[in-house]
C-alpha cells in the first residue's frame, strides 16, 4: 500500500492583482467615455480641439476687456495703449455706462427706486407661490399686482384699493349667487367687478384723492424699456395666462357644445397666427374696437395680447395633462357627489397641473423670451430696442457683440433658472414609486 501523495493545499490567498491599466481610474473612464472606438475617439479629439480653439481665439478678447470708458473710440485707445497695436478687446464699458438704460429704458432717473422696490416686492410675492414654506405670505402675492402697477406707473395711491375693491365686490357677488350654480356665480362676480372698474372706480379714486391726496409722479408707458419692460410684460402675462389657460382647457373639454366650440376656435386661432400679428393688432387695430376717443395704454394692450397668446398654448398643455388622467378619477369624483367645480378644483386640476408642469414652464420660458418681440411695435426691448438706441449715439456707434452678450446672458440666467425650478418642482411633487 503506497503512501498517498501529499495533497497541495494553499495556505494563504494570493493578493488581488491590480486591474489592467485600461480598466481602472482615469484610463477606464477615458476608454469608456471618449475612446471606445475609432470614430468615437476621432469625435472626442475633434470636439476637444474645437473647444480649445474657441478658448484660444476668444480668450484675448475677454482678457483685454475695458470696463470704464465714455466711448467706443476711448475703449479702443485704451486697448491699443495697454496691449499694443492690433490688439482686440471687449468694451464692457458700454454696459457700465448705459446700465440704467438697459435696466429701465427711459424711466425718469430720480424715480428708479420705484421699479427697484417693485422688483423686490415681486420677489417677495413670488416666494409663497414658489416655495411651500412661505405659504402664509400668499395674501401679499394677491395684492402685489395692484401695488406694482401703482409703483411703476404712478398716479394716485388710491388706485390700489380701487383695483382690489373690484375683486372684493366680485367675491361678494360670487358668495351671494354661487348657491345657484358656480358658473352663474363666476359670471355674476366678473360682471360686478367689471362694472365696478368701469364706472365706480374712477369716482371713488377722485373722492379719496380729494380727502387724502397721495400721489406718485405719473410715468408714461413709452418711457418704459429695457429689462423693466420685459419683466412687466412677462410677469403680467404669466400671472394672467395661467388661470385663463386653465379655463380655456376646461372649456375645450366641456360637454356644452357652444362653450366648447368657442374655446376651440379661440385656441386654434391664436395658435395659428404668429405673435407678431397679434402685437400688430395691439398696436394698430385694438383702438378701432374700443369706444371712440378711448386712449388705451400700448403696454397694456401688448400685455393683453401676449396673455391671450400664452393662455392658448397653456390651454393645450393642460389639455394634454387632462387627457392623461384616468377616467376613474372623474367617475370617482362624480360618485362622491362633488359638483363640477369641486371635482375640477379638488380632484382633476391638482393632478392635471402636476403632469403639465414641464409644458407650462416651457410656455412661460417661451413667453419671457417673446417679450423681446415688442420691438416690432416700437417698444424698447432690451435686445434690439435699447441696443439700437445706444448705438444711435455717436460715441457707441459700431458696438455689436458686448450688448448682445450682456442681454443674452441675463435672458439665459432667468430662463435656465425657470427650467431648473420646474425640474425641482417635478421631483418634489412626484408621488409615485418609479
Amino acid at each position: 500500500m503506497s503512501q498517498a501523495p501529499e495533497a497541495f493545499c494553499r495556505s494563504e490567498m494570493l493578493p488581488p492583482r491590480e486591474p489592467p491599466l485600461s480598466q481602472r481610474g482615469a484610463w477606464k473612464w477615458l476608454h469608456e467615455n471618449m475612446f471606445s472606438s475609432i470614430p468615437s475617439g476621432a469625435i472626442s479629439v475633434l470636439g476637444t480641439g474645437l473647444v480649445i480653439w474657441l478658448v484660444v481665439q476668444l480668450y484675448p478678447w475677454f482678457a483685454h476687456s475695458v470696463w470704464t470708458a465714455n466711448s467706443l473710440n476711448e475703449c479702443r485707445a485704451i486697448i491699443t495703449k495697454t496691449w499694443g497695436e492690433g490688439a482686440d478687446g471687449a468694451c464692457w464699458a458700454v454696459i457700465h455706462e448705459r446700465w440704467n438704460q438697459y435696466l429701465y429704458g427711459f424711466y425718469p432717473s430720480d424715480a428708479y427706486w420705484r421699479p427697484d422696490l417693485a422688483f423686490l416686492l415681486m420677489l417677495v410675492s413670488l416666494l409663497p407661490v414658489l416655495f411651500a414654506r412661505f405659504r402664509k405670505l400668499i395674501w401679499f402675492s394677491a395684492i402685489f399686482p395692484a401695488i406694482g402697477y401703482w409703483l411703476i406707473w404712478g398716479g394716485s395711491f388710491w388706485v390700489i384699493p380701487a383695483i382690489l375693491a373690484g375683486f372684493a365686490v366680485g367675491g361678494l357677488a360670487y358668495r351671494l349667487t354661487a348657491r345657484l350654480s358656480a358658473a352663474v356665480g363666476l359670471a355674476a362676480a366678473a360682471l360686478v367687478a367689471v362694472l365696478w372698474w368701469l364706472f365706480l372706480a374712477a369716482p371713488a379714486i377722485g373722492l379719496l384723492d380729494s380727502v387724502a391726496p397721495l400721489k406718485l409722479e405719473f410715468v408714461e408707458s413709452r418711457n418704459l424699456g429695457g429689462f423693466l419692460l420685459s419683466f412687466i410684460i412677462g410677469f403680467c402675462a404669466i400671472t394672467f395666462s395661467l388661470p385663463l389657460g386653465i379655463l380655456l382647457s376646461l372649456g375645450r373639454r366641456s360637454d356644452l357644445p357652444i362653450i366648447k366650440t368657442s374655446c376651440v376656435l379661440f385656441i386654434e386661432f391664436i395658435r395659428g397666427v404668429p405673435l407678431i400679428t397679434l402685437l400688430f393688432t395691439a398696436s394698430f387695430l385694438l383702438a378701432y374696437f374700443l369706444p371712440p376717443g378711448t386712449t388705451f395704454d400700448l403696454v397694456l394692450r401688448v400685455v393683453i395680447m401676449v396673455t391671450f397668446f400664452a393662455a392658448a398654448y397653456i390651454a393645450e398643455v393642460i389639455r394634454g395633462g387632462l387627457a392623461a388622467i384616468p377616467r376613474g378619477q372623474f367617475e370617482a369624483s362624480d360618485s362622491l357627489g362633488l359638483t363640477y367645480w369641486q371635482a375640477q378644483r379638488l380632484i382633476v386640476m391638482p393632478q392635471a397641473l402636476k403632469i403639465s408642469i414641464p409644458g407650462i414652464v416651457g410656455v412661460f420660458i417661451g413667453l419671457f423670451k417673446d417679450t423681446t418681440l415688442v420691438i416690432f411695435v416700437a417698444l424698447l426691448d432690451p435686445l434690439k430696442g435699447i441696443t439700437d438706441a445706444v448705438r444711435g449715439n455717436a460715441s457707441w456707434n459700431g458696438i455689436y457683440w458686448e450688448p448682445y452678450i450682456f442681454s443674452g446672458t441675463i435672458f439665459f440666467v432667468f430662463c435656465f433658472g425657470m427650467s431648473r425650478y420646474a425640474m425641482y418642482l417635478e421631483r418634489k411633487l412626484k408621488t409615485d414609486h418609479h
Binding site: 468615437s40 358658473a183 434690439k384 435672458f411
Partner: protein, 417 residues
C-alpha cells in the same frame, strides 16, 4: 339590492333651468352666447363708429394699386410698378421659401444633435447639451441679430475682392463669395433651356419641373423595384440585390436630363465695385435661415431624444438577442417606434418655425410681415385689411402644414390590432 325605478318625470318647471343639471347646461350656454354676442356686437359697433369717424370703409381694392417700393429679395418677377397685391405675394413666397429651407435644415441638424446627445461619447454629449441649453434659453431675436451682425460686420465689403491682390478671397475654388451685403453664389443655367410656363400670376421654369418629374418618377420606379424584391424574398427567401438599381434610378435620369439640357453654372465675377453674374442672395436670407435653423433644431433635438428614450430598452435588447447589428436595430426596431412619438410634436415645431419667420423684420428680410404688414400697411394706412389678410394667410399656412403632417402621422402611427 334594489333596482332604480324609472326616473320620475314631473314635467318641466322653470326652476329646473337652474337646479336640474340636465337643463342647467342650456342656461349656461344661453347666457354665455348672450354675453359673447354682446361683446362682439359692442366691438363691431365701436369699429363701425371709429371707421365712420375716420371716413374709411374697409375694402381690399388697395391691393390692385401701384406699390411703388422695391423688394430686395424676390423669387417671382416684381418691380416697383407692380401692385400691392403682388408685393404681398412676393412676401408670402419669401416666407414660404425661408420656412421650407429652415424646416429641412432644422430637421437634419436636430436629428443629428438629438442622437449625439444620447451618445456614449462624453465630449460630444456634453457639447450638444451645452448647445441645446444655451440656444433655447436665449431669445430667437438675439440669435438672428448675432448671425446678421456676423454677416454684416465680420465679412469683407465687395470692393475688397477687387484688384490683383485682393484683401478678401472667394471660397470653394472661386465659385462663391460672402460679402457684407450679399452672398454671391453660382447660378444654375441651361444651354438648351425648355423655357418657362406662364401660370398667370408667376412663371415656373420648365427645366425645374422636368427635373422634379424625373426624380419623382425615379422614386416611384425604385418603390416598384423594392416591392418586387420583397415579393421575391417572400417567395424564395432570398432578396435580390437592389442597391445599385436604387442608386441608378435616383441619380441616372436626373444627370442624363441635366446633360441633355446643357446644365452649367454661371459663376459670379467681380466687375467694377460689385459682383455680377451668378446669384446675389441678400445676407438677411442667410441670417434668417441660419437663425431659424439653429433655434428650431434645438427643440427638434429634444423631441428626437425624448422619442428615442421612449422606446423601452427591452426592444433594443430583443433586437440584439435576435442578432441584429446596432445600425439595423436603430433603423428597423427603434426608429419606427420612436417616430410615433416624434412626429406630432415635430409638426408643431415646423409650424413654430414658419410663424417665427415673421422675425424677418429684425434682419430686414422681405417676408409677408415686411411687405404686406410693413411697407404696404404704412403706405396705404390700411391696417385693418392688411393685418386681417396676414392673419388669414398664416392661419391657412398653419392649417395646410398640419393637414399634410397629420396625413404623414397617420402613416407612421403604430397599427394596433
Amino acid at each position: 339590492m334594489s333596482l332604480a325605478e324609472k326616473r320620475p318625470d314631473s314635467g318641466f318647471r322653470l326652476s329646473k333651468l337652474i337646479y336640474d343639471s340636465q337643463y342647467r347646461g342650456y342656461t349656461i350656454q344661453f347666457l354665455f352666447l348672450c354675453a359673447l354676442a354682446l361683446l362682439i356686437g359692442w366691438l363691431v359697433d365701436n369699429a363701425y363708429m371709429n371707421l365712420a369717424k375716420l371716413g374709411i370703409t374697409p375694402n381690399f381694392s388697395f391691393l390692385t394699386n401701384r406699390a411703388g417700393y422695391d423688394i430686395s429679395f424676390k423669387l417671382i418677377h416684381y418691380t416697383n410698378d407692380s401692385t400691392h397685391g403682388r408685393a404681398a405675394l412676393v412676401g408670402l413666397i419669401n416666407t414660404l421659401f425661408v420656412s421650407f429651407l429652415g424646416c429641412i435644415a432644422a430637421t437634419v441638424l436636430g436629428v443629428v444633435v438629438g442622437v449625439l446627445r444620447l451618445s456614449k461619447n462624453w465630449v460630444i454629449a456634453r457639447l450638444m447639451t451645452i448647445y441645446v441649453e444655451v440656444v433655447r434659453n436665449v431669445p430667437l431675436l438675439l440669435w438672428l441679430l448675432v448671425i446678421f451682425a456676423v454677416f454684416t460686420e465680420a465679412t469683407p465689403a465687395p470692393r475688397d475682392f477687387r484688384g490683383a491682390n485682393p484683401s478678401a478671397h472667394m471660397w470653394l475654388w472661386n465659385s462663391m463669395a460672402v460679402t457684407n451685403r450679399y452672398v454671391a453664389l453660382p447660378a444654375p443655367e441651361f444651354f438648351r433651356s425648355l423655357g418657362n410656363i406662364d401660370l398667370v400670376v408667376f412663371k415656373v421654369s420648365l427645366d425645374l419641373l422636368a427635373l422634379v418629374a424625373v426624380v419623382v418618377l425615379g422614386g416611384l420606379a425604385d418603390r416598384a423595384l423594392r416591392n418586387h424584391a420583397a415579393r421575391v424574398q417572400e417567395a424564395t427567401g432570398r432578396r435580390p440585390t437592389t442597391w445599385w438599381a436604387t442608386v441608378l434610378l435616383y441619380f441616372g435620369p436626373p444627370i442624363a436630363l441635366l446633360a441633355i439640357l446643357g446644365f452649367h453654372f454661371d459663376y459670379p465675377k467681380m466687375t467694377g465695385f460689385n459682383f455680377t453674374g451668378g446669384m446675389l442672395a441678400p445676407n438677411s436670407l442667410f441670417a434668417l435661415w441660419f437663425g431659424l435653423t439653429i433655434y428650431t433644431a434645438v427643440y427638434i433635438a429634444e423631441i428626437v431624444r425624448a422619442g428615442i428614450l421612449a422606446v423601452s430598452k427591452g426592444q433594443t435588447e430583443a433586437a440584439y438577442a435576435l442578432g441584429l447589428r446596432p445600425g439595423r436595430t436603430m433603423r428597423l426596431v427603434v426608429l419606427p417606434q420612436a417616430l410615433r412619438v416624434i412626429v406630432p410634436p415635430m409638426i408643431s415645431q415646423f409650424l413654430n418655425l414658419t410663424k417665427n419667420s415673421t422675425l424677418a423684420a429684425a434682419v430686414s428680410y422681405p417676408d409677408l410681415g415686411a411687405t404686406l404688414g410693413g411697407v404696404t400697411l404704412n403706405q396705404t394706412g390700411r391696417a385693418l385689411e392688411s393685418i386681417l389678410l396676414m392673419m388669414v394667410t398664416y392661419l391657412i399656412i398653419s392649417l395646410l402644414i398640419s393637414i399634410a403632417m397629420n396625413l404623414f402621422n397617420r402613416r407612421v402611427r403604430l397599427k394596433e390590432r
